[in-house]
Symmetry: C2
Subunit: 220 residues, 2 copies
DNA sequence: GTCTATAAACAGATAGAC
DNA sequence: GTCTATCTGTTTATAGAC
């Protein structure tokens, strides 16, 4: 054993990886793991891209983290660029879908609180994907960039709509809803740069601190 | 002329640079430009790092942008890592020095307004340096990272002190001064992601919008 | 101070064996 | 599906001519 636990990586140098014996698939052709290698490639790539940056990570490093040779990666992605794009698109689509499922029915102020708490919880639970989706925008080919940028704008527009409703209802003061939505999202996403699960404040504490600032910043 | 036959590099992506004929140094040895090449190397590196990322930019691309061969760059930096580090350290030190010069004498709320306006003005005037100093942290060697991280914390501490004074004086409500300082800086730095000088809003307009949100978020 | 040439390592991606 | 081997081009950095 000692392997097939997905993350037996040596990390510090991307070396060693030996073994990939999988008891439950022993009947398969030796070395064949199509059903689990795909997700592991994406997980390893996401982790490495977040840590070192897309351009600084080689396909060989990703392969080493997964426990396969570099050539095997091309069974799961046509090229490195598409691997990055799929990770980013997947994250943005999950973000939008999760918010659309969570969006409450109450008034604008309740919706703003829901957005604040949702954004903090969702983003801190997927720090690597959030980081990559923001930091690697400039490494996307133009066509791919346009797609991700569009999804990002969609998300901002969700918050912008909340702020507009609040302003129209008279419960909020928002001179520039579009700018305010970007400002608030930037503030909330900043949590990821310092929050640690083992830290002094619980996630509930963090939500409370930020919701207080968000509420005050737009309150009528 | 035509660039003293120096530049004129093909470089499909980073050409043009159209040599800078400097009349006052024409008497020098042909091809010798020590007094101007250094700054141009830093400017080109900053611009390229901001556009494409440190890891994605080669020394040859920087050289082509300057109009010299790659080997010549090593007269101005011992290596690529030091070039990045010097750019980031220079930016952070200038940021701190500029705020320390500008910091006003009034009460905490006046200081907060000054900080808000200063941060927006300074950062939008040096977008490339701001971008690089944040995005390339993970490409710094540990010792260099520690230096930049320390300078960044120093800057945050300046704002934190303002918020603490306001809270102590009773003119502000700030439950977590450290977190609030990071939240506000994240919000203000976000201006750089969308602000354009040719846009609908002037810099004064932008300052007013953000100052309104900042003030409301901490007002007692 | 800049050039040309080069060293030594590494990149993304592919071909064919098993 | 994975491996080994390889193709082709690029990387940082240095050496020595001018």
């Amino acid at each position: 054993m000692s392997c097939h636990s997905l993350g037996a990586k040596g990390k510090p140098g991307f070396d060693l990886n030996a073994c990939s014996v999988k008891p439950d698939v022993m009947a398969r052709t030796q070395g064949s793991h199509s059903d689990i290698t795909g997700p592991r490639v994406r997980e390893a790539a996401l982790r490495l891209f977040a840590r070192h940056g897309y351009a600084a990570v080689s396909m060989r490093q990703i392969a080493a983290a997964v426990g396969v040779q570099a050539g095997a990666l091309y069974n799961y992605t046509p090229d490195k660029q598409t691997l990055l794009f799929d990770l980013m698109r997947g994250h943005m689509e999950e973000l939008l879908a999760a918010w659309d499922r969570a969006e409450p029915q109450g008034d604008a102020m309740a919706a703003l609180e829901a957005f604040t708490r949702f954004h903090i919880r969702f983003n801190t639970s997927r720090a690597d994907a959030v980081f990559v989706s923001y930091m690697e925008l400039r490494n996307l080919e133009p066509a791919n960039f346009a797609v991700i940028e569009g999804l990002r704008r969609d998300y901002e527009t969700r918050l912008e709509a909340v702020l507009r409703h609040g302003a129209e209802a008279g419960t909020m003061v928002v001179a520039e809803p579009r700018i305010a939505s970007m400002a608030l999202i930037a503030m909330l996403t900043g949590v990821n740069t310092w929050y640690r699960a083992q830290g002094r404040l619980s996630l509930a504490d963090v939500e409370a601190v930020y919701w207080d600032m968000v509420r005050r910043s737009v309150e009528g």
